[in-house]
């Protein structure tokens, strides 16, 4: 890629995460592996939002977690400002974790129900030694205002809040420790449309205010298009296409991206009437037995027999930083 090395905050090389499938009650032996993430190469530039889209189970969350070292990768490396996170351990890793936060999909499950909003947001401040005593409370009150919540909520519990409000608490917790990078894992997927828009605007405001870099994971292509600078499309553990937002949506090159985009309904009956859909047949294969060759070959409408189902297409630049893995694109 042509980007200057110093502009890159996160670099992922050959990232693989395989979850062992075991059998046996006393002596567990491995009988296979879920190849959740199966060799990813990409970089995230400082200050940008990289969107990561794909259907459920394709490995988006696993990718996000592996970058943050919440899962240790099976293979590959993750560099954060040039430092290989896969080789950092203990105290140093903990210190680096302050700079990388995560926002979760489920605002119900991700907040401890027995902690007040104040301690949920305040705890990471104390853990990382960023504030103590009365400062903590002051800082939490300030953060609540920043994410659009009233500071008198500080002593309340998560169950007293709506989904959108809890998501704001989760966001306040993530930005509390002044991170550089946030993995947003489907942060609006569980929310109603009108609340989704509030949270998207908030994430955009915080990015501008704190100069944040986002990996924005979602399955909604319209949301990803709205928020991202560049977009990576995943299918069954692989990135199949990666390029600038406008380029991807105007000139999708991979047959999967094309099908995915054509499947998204547009809220305009006159456009819908004229649109032609590419309807894919069948379901996404099981990631413990991915197809040979291109992972998309079993559903691809333009698959080349003997090639696509035999060899793996290389992920390469088709020109102008438009990366694709497909034999049809050269």
């Amino acid at each position: 890629m042509t980007v200057q090395e110093q502009d890159i905050l996160v670099r992922v090389e050959g990232l693989k995460v395989h979850f062992p499938i075991t059998q046996g009650i006393i002596f567990q032996r491995q009988i296979g592996a879920v190849q959740a993430v199966d060799g990813l190469d990409f970089a995230i530039r400082r200050g940008e939002t990289l969107g990561l889209v794909g259907e459920s189970g394709c490995g988006k969350s696993t990718t996000g977690r592996a970058i943050l070292q919440l899962y240790r990768p099976t293979a590959g490396n993750v560099y954060f400002e040039g430092e290989n996170l896969c080789q950092v351990k203990g105290e140093k890793l903990r210190a680096m974790r302050r700079r990388m936060q995560m926002i979760f999909q489920d605002p119900y499950a991700s907040l401890n129900p027995r902690m007040t909003i104040g301690s949920i947001i305040g705890e990471p401040l104390e853990v990382h030694g960023l504030a103590s005593g009365a400062e903590v409370k002051e800082r939490v009150a300030e953060l609540l205002e920043v994410v659009g919540l009233n500071s008198y909520f500080i002593n309340r519990y998560p169950h007293e809040f709506s989904g959108g409000q809890r998501q704001r608490v989760g966001i306040a917790r993530a930005v509390a420790v002044n991170p550089d990078f946030i993995v947003c894992d489907e942060p609006v997927s569980a929310l109603d449309v009108s609340i989704q828009a509030q949270i998207i605007n908030l994430l955009e405001d915080l990015q501008a205010r704190y100069n944040l870099t986002y990996l924005f994971i979602a399955h909604d292509l319209s949301v990803v298009r709205h928020i991202s600078d560049r977009v990576a499309v995943m299918y069954l553990g692989k990135i199949v296409e990666l390029t600038d937002r406008a380029e991807l949506y105007e000139k999708p090159l991979h047959p999967y991206t094309q099908a995915l985009l054509s499947a998204v309904p547009i809220p305009d009956p006159e456009i819908e009437e004229r649109r032609r859909r590419i309807i894919l047949t069948g379901d996404v294969p099981d990631p413990s037995h991915p197809p040979k060759g291109c992972h998309f070959s079993t559903r691809c409408p333009v698959m080349i027999p003997g090639t696509c189902d035999a060899q793996e297409p290389e992920f390469k630049d088709a020109g102008g930083n438009h990366w694709v893995a497909c034999f049809r694109v050269s």
Binding site: E55, S56, S162, G164, Q165, D192, V193, S194, I195, Q196, A197, Q198, I200, N201, E204, H219, L221, S222, V223, R225, H226, I227, Y249, A259, L260, L261, S262, A263, V264, P265, I266, P267, D268, P269, E270, I271, E272, E273, R275, R277, I279, L280, T281, G282, D283, V284
Partner: protein, 334 residues
């Protein structure tokens, strides 16, 4: 010809510890033969309770249909005996839900579950029912249907289970299919498969459909008419073209401003609806949307806080109605 279904002044409430939940608070709509009506709104606005009331499937207590008529082919379902309603439900009206596992029996094979209905309602014998079951599974694109009728629900993927639900719903040739967010849990390519099948079968069988969703995109490509619900009320009703060309209720406008569009010109800021969804417990004076309405705020319209507006004609389209004291097109109060 009279509409297939006429819902008039339907009110359904839940009697809970916190008070009376006004889940559906006086809604009226028609569904013509062969027509698809989309019902759109965010969670908790009464979409499901509305159609469950039509099917007479409200758990009582705590729920109760307290007012209204549901005329199906001219006869009021709310006045029928339980037995008469069961006849209609199994035969002429069918429903599919968001989660197919709630309606599939995990210990019966897929084939058994469909054939049972065929034997019961259409008096088919075992062989006829099995042949028809395989046909139905083929109709909904289950690959290798003949080899899969004896599978159990857990052996099917989510998308396939949802298609089995349509096969089951269609088994008795219903006149009306009610689909309650059937694609909400599905991935977008699987959703496209599903919508494609329903559209094809709807046209082939000239069925009427009520399609409930929170997705304004799906409705645009599927429905002829749309009802937008908010807080137990229908706040806007229009042909699908009029609704998107001249959205007239502030809530509809708010929803449209909240969704990023795949075909938007360029990155522009979303305009969310401020505030939180309403609480349906207790009586509500005034317009239910007033606490979040930008027009009420800007023009300080007192009437919005005092009287709940009824649906009234708006815009240039035929039968386009909105329930609002403010005329958003002309920028002035009515």
């Amino acid at each position: 010809m009279a509409p297939l279904l006429q819902v008039k002044g339907l009110k359904t409430q839940f009697f809970t510890q916190d008070g009376i939940v006004h889940a559906v608070d006086g809604i009226s709509y028609d569904v013509e033969e062969g027509e698809t009506l989309g019902i759109v709104g965010e969670s908790g606005c009464g979409k499901s309770v509305g159609v469950l009331s039509v099917m007479r499937l409200i758990p009582t207590p705590p729920g109760k249909i307290v007012a209204g008529e549901v005329l199906f082919q001219g006869r009021d379902m709310l006045k029928m005996s339980e037995e008469e309603v069961r006849q209609i439900r199994g035969n002429q009206m069918a429903m599919i839900f968001q989660d197919p596992m709630t309606s599939l029996n995990p210990v019966l094979t897929i084939g058994r579950q469909i054939s049972e209905a065929l034997e019961l309602h259409l008096n088919m014998d075992k062989n006829q029912a099995r042949t028809r079951t395989i046909e139905l599974l083929e109709m909904v694109n289950i690959p290798g249907a003949a080899g899969r009728v004896d599978d159990y629900p857990h052996q099917f993927s989510g998308g396939m289970r949802q298609r089995v639900m349509i096969a089951m719903a269609l088994s008795c040739n219903p006149k009306l299919l009610i689909a309650d967010e059937p694609t909400t849990a599905l991935d977008v390519t699987i959703q496209a498969q599903f919508v494609d099948i329903v559209k094809r079968l709807r046209d082939e069988l000239s069925m009427s459909v009520i399609w409930i969703t929170h997705d304004l995109g799906i409705v645009a490509g599927l429905a002829q008419r749309v009802a937008v619900m908010y807080a137990g009320h229908i706040v806007e009703m229009a042909s699908v073209k009029d609704l998107y060309r001249e959205p007239s209720h502030p809530y509809t406008l708010g929803l449209l401003g909240s969704i990023p569009r795949l075909d938007a010109e360029r990155r522009s800021r979303l305009t969310p609806i401020e505030g939180l969804p309403p609480d349906l417990v207790g009586e509500n004076r005034g317009c239910p949307f007033a606490p979040r309405c930008p027009y009420q705020k800007e023009h300080a319209i007192e009437r919005c806080l005092q009287e709940n507006p009824q649906l009234a004609p708006v815009g240039t389209g035929l039968k386009h109605q909105a329930a609002c004291w403010f005329d958003v097109r002309r920028g002035m109060a009515r």
